[in-house]
């Protein structure tokens, strides 16, 4: 660390210490201890005593504040770390403001924390109960399908997955055998029933007024079932608890690794929902609209494969993938499909990748074919809500552009030019007074490279340029499919400055009319 940087950090820390000392905090060089006045719900003022330490992360993160004395009887529940430190700011608090560097804001935040704690954090919906238990330290994650598991309570089977530490809780219940009762039980004196190993136990704890901190908290919620569960935990059969709970209107699940003990030892595990809803939550706001649309992608090479991937991830489920070529090992470096799919038709390889996401509701057709006649172009446009041309085949593109203009059916054509220096997408048909950007003049000389043997010349376009072109195509496609229609007929991105204007600087060009365009640097 440079001297100036170290000096600036030291000055920031010293400034906070000095400011807090001026507000009555004693400072032994490590811990600042001082009073914080706050108002109890009943009205009278109380004076808490807090210890503040200035961690290495400061001023990029807040000081560590711990309660030494609350001043009155106070049931500390939420917003507290395992080591007792108060959670005063969420980790996503805007850092530039650094509110904790202002001692008055810091103290006010502590007052707010005390006052909220005193009234039970009304309106608080933070579902982060795992922070109140020690972390298990195990690798991996606990997976569960919320939709399948949620109706089930009690003992559930689990399955260890291939990745270390990854466990899936299955929607497969197990019921303990009923123990004989009355005289039969006395005569038989059978041992307590045992259970299979690697079980999970799922239960709904309902609304939580305080975190789950130990076995007693769970036992209190389970009532009569606690004794049996504890027995199966101590037998080594139950290793995991899935605890559904609610905070305000929000629902969540706490996964807890349990180990035999008196009482059983609880450790928090990271858990994740594998349901379709959870896995498509991040697909974007247009996913529902896009799911109904039929999109044909002509050309499933570099650009087309990523167009298919992005559209599928964004919600398009009805895809018609068309490409005449096989996937060669040399294609893979800038293609969606992994090397193991080399040799398959490119359309099939893309389909396999998309299906591997298991997003359901798929209607993906893959066809090893080309657009070779105007009739085929008209047919594909007529049967699709949108066609995307990613062929880089002049004749196919010409037919599709003609067909789109003639029929008024939407089509987007995307490409990379100048060896990856420019990415471009054009939409057809043109709307009122629209025009496309003029064609990009071809570079005067480009060295042709070919794979060993015969075959097409290989473009030296890098993978990032391919993705840039796919992104432009998807933006135009989304704009058309969602009927937003706010984007121009051409979007062009200069990825690498070219010798000739207007491509001589990094920028985005958007067509306004056939003769005018906007430049965005």
């Amino acid at each position: 660390m440079s001297g100036a940087a170290r000096a600036a950090l030291a000055a920031a820390r010293a400034a906070l210490r000095r400011d807090l000392a001026a507000r009555g905090f004693a400072d032994d060089g490590e811990v600042l201890r001082g009073p914080v006045k706050w108002r109890t719900p009943e009205g009278p003022d109380a004076t808490a005593v807090v210890d503040i330490t200035v961690p290495d992360r400061y001023p990029f993160g807040p000081p560590v504040v711990r309660l030494t004395d609350t001043g009155v009887l106070l049931d500390v529940t939420f917003h507290r770390e395992l080591d007792g430190a108060l959670c005063l700011w969420d980790t996503d608090e805007p850092v530039p403001d650094g509110p904790w560097t202002d001692p008055d804001l810091l103290l006010r935040r502590i007052v707010g924390w005390l006052e909220n704690t005193a009234v039970g954090w009304p309106g608080d919906e933070d579902c982060d109960l795992e922070r109140y238990l020690p972390a298990s330290g195990q690798p991996g994650i606990v997976l569960y399908d919320h939709d399948a598991i949620r109706p089930l309570q009690g003992y559930l089977r689990t399955q260890a997955m291939q990745n270390p530490g990854v466990v899936t809780v299955l929607a497969s219940t197990w019921s303990p055998p009923t123990r004989p009762t009355g005289n039969r039980a006395a005569k038989g004196r059978k041992p307590a029933p045992s259970a299979p190993r690697h079980l999970a136990y799922a239960v709904d704890l309902g609304p939580r007024q305080f975190p789950v901190r130990d076995w007693d908290d769970i036992a209190a919620a389970l009532g009569d079932h606690a004794t049996e569960l504890r027995r199966f935990i101590n037998q080594g059969s139950v290793e995991l608890l899935l605890l559904w709970y609610r905070r305000g209107q929000r629902k969540a699940v706490l996964a807890v690794a349990v180990q035999p003990g008196h009482p059983p030892v609880l450790k928090a595990r990271e858990a994740a929902d594998t349901s379709l809803a959870a896995r498509t939550l991040r697909a974007g706001t247009s996913a529902t609209d896009l799911a109904r649309q039929q999109v044909a992608i002509i050309g499933c090479g570099a650009v087309g494969s990523y167009v298919a991937d992005l559209l599928y991830r964004e919600g398009v489920r009805h895809l018609n993938l068309i490409d005449g070529q096989l996937l060669r090992p040399g294609n893979v470096i800038r293609h969606l499909a992994p090397p193991r799919l080399a040799g398959l038709p490119k359309a099939d390889a893309v389909k396999q990748v998309l299906l591997s996401y298991e997003l359901g509701g798929d209607h993906i057709q893959a066809k090893q074919s080309k657009i070779e006649t105007p009739g085929q172009a008209l047919e594909i446009l007529d049967s699709s809500d949108l066609v995307i041309d990613a062929t880089a085949d002049q004749r196919a593109t010409a037919m599709l552009c003609w067909a789109a203009t003639t029929t008024g059916r939407p089509m987007v054509t995307a490409c990379v030019q100048r060896e990856g220096g420019i990415a471009r997408a054009d939409r057809f048909p043109l709307r009122c007074e629209e025009g496309h950007l003029p064609p990009v003049p071809e570079a005067p000389y480009l060295a042709l490279v070919r794979e060993r043997g015969c075959g097409d010349a290989v473009s030296l376009t890098p993978p990032s340029a391919v993705m840039a072109a796919a992104e432009l195509a998807v933006e135009l496609a989304r704009d058309e499919l969602t009927l937003s229609r706010s984007l121009p007929a051409t979007v062009l991105r200069v990825l690498c400055p070219q010798p000739d204007a207007p491509y001589d600087k990094l920028c985005m060009l958007a067509a306004r009319t056939s003769t005018e365009f906007e430049t965005t640097s």
Partner: protein, 333 residues
């Protein structure tokens, strides 16, 4: 007011005994074991205990000598001081050899050259609730006993450290160390470290300071010493462990006169440092006050954001929060 707490913590770490602490512990254990292994001393119920500044945890770098208080619990009034010292000498010579053992006026000194320190083993016999140790021979060359209670001083030190805290931790002991360091920096020899430790004890006991920083406590104690030193130079320094007794000192009238002059300057410098609003100027004053440790290292560090001359480093503008990311907030990646 610049109290510079983090830098006082660093200053304290620079006067801590460091590896001497382990060496003192080992050498004390060896001497105690030798005393307990000697049959004549065992018959007198020998029960050695560590005393001195190291035992009270107020020693500063370097620890050159460690005191072992050889309590002879079953000794009666017939035991003569010379006989007690003889028994200690025999026991320690038997264990450590003549080369390492030196008889002194009222103790036996055992050298630990590998650690560059020595252990003074002092025989002591019971006297009511207290103890007696050999007194230096008088003019008639006759040895006698003198009352003392070193373990009580250890207790008082612990009690005072519990009673006075800073952020929940004892402040008396750190302040004694700081005062001992001020003495080392400003006074050539006498009065010694124990004398100033006792003065610090009385500063806490009489003045009952309640401060919020090391700096505040140090100024309070130095103020007390500035005021009281001329008085104790005349009347003697009360021994907190023995009512009506005063602390023995080898300081001459000239020593006291020099000490009064220097401590007046030191106390004034400390007040100036505490009143200073500017961290860098304050740090320079604290640095002058605390001088250097026995290894020649400056005790009080200058903050990273200051220049050695006490001016502020122009490159050390305080970071207020953090710089804004180029994209602003609401980012996702």
């Amino acid at each position: 007011m610049a109290t510079l707490p983090s830098y006082f913590t660093q200053a304290l770490s620079r006067i801590e005994p460091g590896p001497d602490a382990d060496n003192a512990k080992k050498s004390h254990a060896e001497v105690s074991a030798a005393l307990k292994a000697a049959a004549p001393l065992a018959r007198l119920g020998v029960k050695p205990v560590l005393i001195g500044s190291y035992a009270r945890e107020v020693s500063t770098r370097r620890v050159k000598d460690v005191d072992v208080f050889g309590r002879l619990q079953d000794a009666d009034q017939d035991l003569r001081p010379g006989r007690a010292i003889d028994l200690f000498e025999d026991a320690l010579t038997g264990s450590f050899g003549h080369q390492r053992v030196e008889r002194q006026a009222r103790s036996i000194k055992v050298s630990f050259n590998e650690y560059d320190l020595s252990v003074d083993a002092v025989p002591a016999r019971p006297k009511g609730n207290h103890w007696e140790i050999p007194k230096k021979t008088d003019q008639d060359n006759r040895a006698s006993w003198i009352e003392t209670n070193p373990t009580r001083l250890t207790e008082l030190s612990t009690e005072t450290n519990k009673k006075y805290t800073l952020s929940g931790k004892g402040i008396y002991v750190p302040v004694v160390k700081l005062v001992r360091q001020v003495r080392r920096a400003w006074i050539s020899d006498q009065p010694g470290g124990l004398f100033f430790e006792i003065l610090t004890y009385w500063a806490f006991n009489d003045g009952k300071p309640r401060e919020i920083s090391h700096a505040g406590y140090l100024v309070a104690v130095l103020d007390y010493i500035e005021k009281e030193l001329p008085v104790v130079a005349e009347d003697g320094l009360r021994d907190p462990t023995l009512a009506g007794k005063v602390i023995e000192t080898r300081a001459t009238e000239r020593d006291f006169s020099d000490a009064i002059r220097e401590m007046t300057k030191a106390a004034r410098l400390a007040r100036t440092a505490l009143a200073e609003d500017d961290d860098c100027r304050a740090a320079l004053a604290w640095q002058r006050l605390l001088g250097k440790n026995t290894e020649g290292e400056t005790v009080f560090p200058i903050p990273e954001y200051c220049n050695p001359d006490g001016t502020r480093n122009s490159n050390s503008a305080t970071i207020k929060g953090a710089v804004t990311a180029p994209a602003g907030s609401g980012r996702y990646a």
